[in-house]
C-alpha cells in the first residue's frame, strides 16, 4: 500500500485527510460512524477566549449544491475547552487541531497561548476568516495588514504548528497568504466559507437570522481549487485545501492543485462516514496510478 504520511510544519499526519472545523464537532459526535484512528486529523470547533452564544436561529439554509450557515462561532470559550473538552479529546487516536478565533488581537493571542499549554494539541488553525461574526473574525482576514498583525501576535504566543485559515472573500488571496507566511505561519488552510445570502420569495424575507451566511459544499469547490492552486504557487509553506470535497476524487484534485492535506466539511453532514472513505479512496487512486507515496501527487498537475 502506498505511503500516505504527510507533514504540515511539525505536525505529522498518518494521511492527508482531516475534518473541517465546525462540521465534525469534537470528533466524539462521529465515533459511531468513523474509526478516528483512520483519519489524519480532526480540526475541532472554533474556540474563542470567552463563551459565545452565536447568532439566533435560523442559522442554515440549503442552496443549490451547497448550504449557507451563520452559526457565528457558538462555543463555550477556552476555559471550558481546557477543563471539560480537552480531557475527552486528548486521547483520541488521531491528531487534534484546535480552530482559534477572536475579535481582538489580544484575544487571539491569549486563546492561542492557552491552547499551546495543552500537551496533546500539536497545532492550531487560526480562523481569521469567519464571515458570521460582526467584530473581528473575517475583518482580520481581508487585508494583508490585518492578517499579518494577528499572525505576528499569535506567533509570539504560540510555539507549535500554526496553520492560518484564509478567507476567500478577498480580491487577492495569494497576497494575504504571503503576508501570513512572512509573519511565521507554518501553513495556510483554505478556503473558509464564501459570504452569501438566501431570500424566501414567498415570504419576502431573508432566510437567515442575520441575513447573510457562509456558503460551503460542492458549490464552492471550483473556487476553492483555483485558490489552492494559486496560493500553493505563491508560498513556500504547506497548503491545506478544503471547500466542497465530497469524495476521494475531489480530495485528489486538491492534492494535485498543490495541497499537502485536505479537510472535509459539509460532506460529513451528508454521509457521516465519508471521511474515512476518502482516505481509502486516495489509497486506491495511488495504487491504480502506480504511485508509492501520496507526496508524489502534491502539486503534480501535468499542465
Amino acid at each position: 500500500m502506498a505511503d500516505l504520511k504527510v507533514s504540515i510544519g511539525a505536525l505529522e499526519l498518518r494521511n492527508p485527510v482531516m475534518t473541517a472545523s465546525g462540521t465534525f464537532g469534537y470528533g466524539l459526535e462521529f465515533q459511531d460512524f468513523v474509526d478516528l484512528s483512520e483519519l489524519g486529523g480532526i480540526v475541532v470547533k472554533g474556540t474563542t477566549l470567552r463563551p459565545r452564544e452565536g447568532n439566533p436561529y435560523p442559522r442554515m439554509a440549503e442552496t443549490a449544491s451547497g448550504m449557507l450557515n451563520c452559526v457565528g462561532l457558538q462555543n463555550k470559550g477556552v476555559d471550558y475547552f481546557c477543563e471539560h473538552i480537552y480531557p475527552e479529546v486528548k486521547d483520541l487516536p488521531t491528531q487534534v487541531v484546535v480552530n482559534v478565533s477572536g475579535s481582538t488581537i489580544e484575544d487571539y493571542a491569549e486563546t492561542a497561548h492557552r491552547i499551546g499549554e495543552l500537551e496533546r494539541i500539536p497545532a492550531i488553525e487560526l480562523n481569521i476568516s469567519c464571515p458570521n461574526v460582526r467584530q473581528g473574525g473575517m475583518a482580520f482576514g481581508v487585508t494583508s495588514q490585518g492578517a499579518a498583525s494577528v499572525v505576528k501576535a499569535v506567533r509570539r504566543a504560540y510555539p507549535k504548528t500554526l496553520i492560518v485559515k484564509l478567507s476567500p472573500n478577498v480580491t487577492d488571496i495569494a497576497e494575504i497568504a504571503r503576508a501570513v507566511e512572512a509573519e511565521g505561519a507554518d501553513a495556510v488552510s483554505l478556503i473558509n466559507t464564501l459570504m452569501g445570502m438566501a431570500i424566501d420569495a414567498e415570504r419576502r424575507r431573508k432566510v437567515l437570522s442575520i441575513g447573510t451566511g457562509g456558503l460551503s459544499g460542492p458549490a464552492v469547490k471550483p473556487v476553492a481549487l483555483r485558490m489552492v492552486h494559486q496560493v500553493s504557487k505563491a508560498v513556500g509553506i504547506p497548503v491545506v485545501g478544503l471547500g466542497g470535497i465530497m469524495s476521494a476524487t475531489d480530495a485528489v484534485e486538491f492534492l494535485l492543485a498543490g495541497a499537502t492535506a485536505v479537510e472535509i466539511g459539509t460532506a460529513n453532514f451528508i454521509d457521516p462516514g465519508v471521511s474515512t472513505k476518502v482516505v481509502r479512496g486516495i489509497s486506491e487512486y495511488l495504487a491504480r496510478h502506480g504511485f508509492s507515496s501520496v507526496r508524489e501527487i502534491i502539486g503534480a498537475l501535468e499542465n
Partner: protein, 254 residues
C-alpha cells in the same frame, strides 16, 4: 444508543392522503437498531443535498420494519413521493433523545397536529406495552386530513378535533373536552403555535408537558449547531441531540 448509517429497502410506499407519503422499510441487511419513540432519522433524499430529519412513526413488532410518515412540502420531502417498493433509502438513525417514559402513576395525553402526529403512534404503542393509561388527541383542519386514524385507533383511545367540525369536536385541540380529564403529562408534536398553546394550557391545568421541536438541521448529530433553540436561561440548545423533545418549561416560551 449507537447511531447507524443504514440502507433501508422500501417494503411499502403509499400515499393515503394527498401530499403525504407513508413509507415502510426494512434494513437491507442486519437488524434495525433499537429506537425510542420521539427519536428521528436523517433520511437521504435525491431532491436535495442535505438529509431531512423525519420522525420514527412506528417500529413494527419484531423490530424489523420502520415506518415514516412524510408531508411533501419542498424539494427534499417531495422526492420521497417517488419511492416505490424495492427502492433503497439511506438513513442515519436513531437520533435525538425521544419522549420521556412516564411513571406508573401517570396518565398521558398525546396531542398531535398535522404531520406532527407521526411520532405519537410509536409512543402510544410503547405506553400500551407498559400498561400506562393514555389517549391520543389528534387535530386537523378537516376530517380528510386526519392522518393514520385507523392505526391510532388500533393502539388506543382517540379524541379528534377538526377546525371545520367534520370529525370529532369542532375547534382546536386546546378547545377539546379531553383536556378536562385529569391527565398528568401531555406529550405533543405539531405546528409550533399549536404546541405553544398546548403547553400553556397544560401548565394552567398543572400537567407536565413535553414538546417535540422541528428545527431545520444540517448534521443531526450535534456537530454543526445549526438547529439550536434558546432555552429559559438564554443558552442555545441543540434540537438534534438535547431534543427534539424538551420539557416545555425548559424553553423560553411564556
Amino acid at each position: 444508543m449507537k447511531k447507524e448509517i443504514l440502507d433501508l429497502q422500501i417494503a411499502e410506499a403509499t400515499s393515503p392522503w394527498e401530499g403525504f407519503v407513508l413509507l415502510k422499510a426494512e434494513p437491507t441487511e442486519g437488524a434495525l437498531p433499537e429506537c425510542r419513540p420521539g427519536q428521528f432519522a436523517q433520511l437521504r433524499t435525491g431532491g436535495a443535498l442535505l438529509r431531512r430529519p423525519i420522525s420514527i412513526h412506528n417500529v413494527e413488532e419484531g423490530g424489523r420494519r420502520v415506518w415514516f410518515l412524510v408531508q411533501a412540502v419542498g424539494r427534499g420531502t417531495r422526492w420521497f413521493q417517488t419511492l416505490k417498493a424495492g427502492d433503497c433509502l439511506n438513513a442515519v438513525m436513531p437520533l435525538g433523545n425521544g419522549f420521556g417514559m412516564p411513571g406508573s402513576g401517570d396518565r398521558v395525553l398525546l396531542v398531535g397536529g398535522g404531520v406532527g402526529v407521526a411520532p405519537l403512534l410509536f409512543q402510544g404503542q410503547r405506553l400500551r406495552e407498559r400498561g400506562i393509561p393514555f389517549a391520543f388527541l389528534l387535530g386537523a383542519r378537516s376530517a380528510d386530513l386526519l392522518l393514520q386514524l385507523e392505526e391510532f385507533r388500533r393502539v388506543g383511545e382517540v379524541f379528534v378535533a377538526t377546525e371545520d367540525g367534520s370529525a370529532g369536536e369542532c375547534g382546536l385541540v386546546t378547545q377539546h373536552s379531553a383536556f378536562a380529564a385529569p391527565y398528568t403529562l401531555v406529550q405533543t408534536c405539531g405546528p409550533t403555535p399549536m404546541m405553544r398553546a398546548v403547553a400553556r394550557l397544560a401548565h394552567e391545568q398543572g400537567m407536565r408537558c413535553e414538546v417535540s421541536l422541528e428545527n431545520r438541521m444540517a448534521c443531526g448529530v450535534g456537530a454543526c449547531l445549526c438547529c439550536v433553540t434558546e432555552d429559559r436561561t438564554g443558552h442555545n440548545r441543540c434540537v438534534c441531540t438535547d431534543g427534539p423533545v424538551f420539557g416545555a418549561e425548559e424553553l423560553n416560551w411564556d
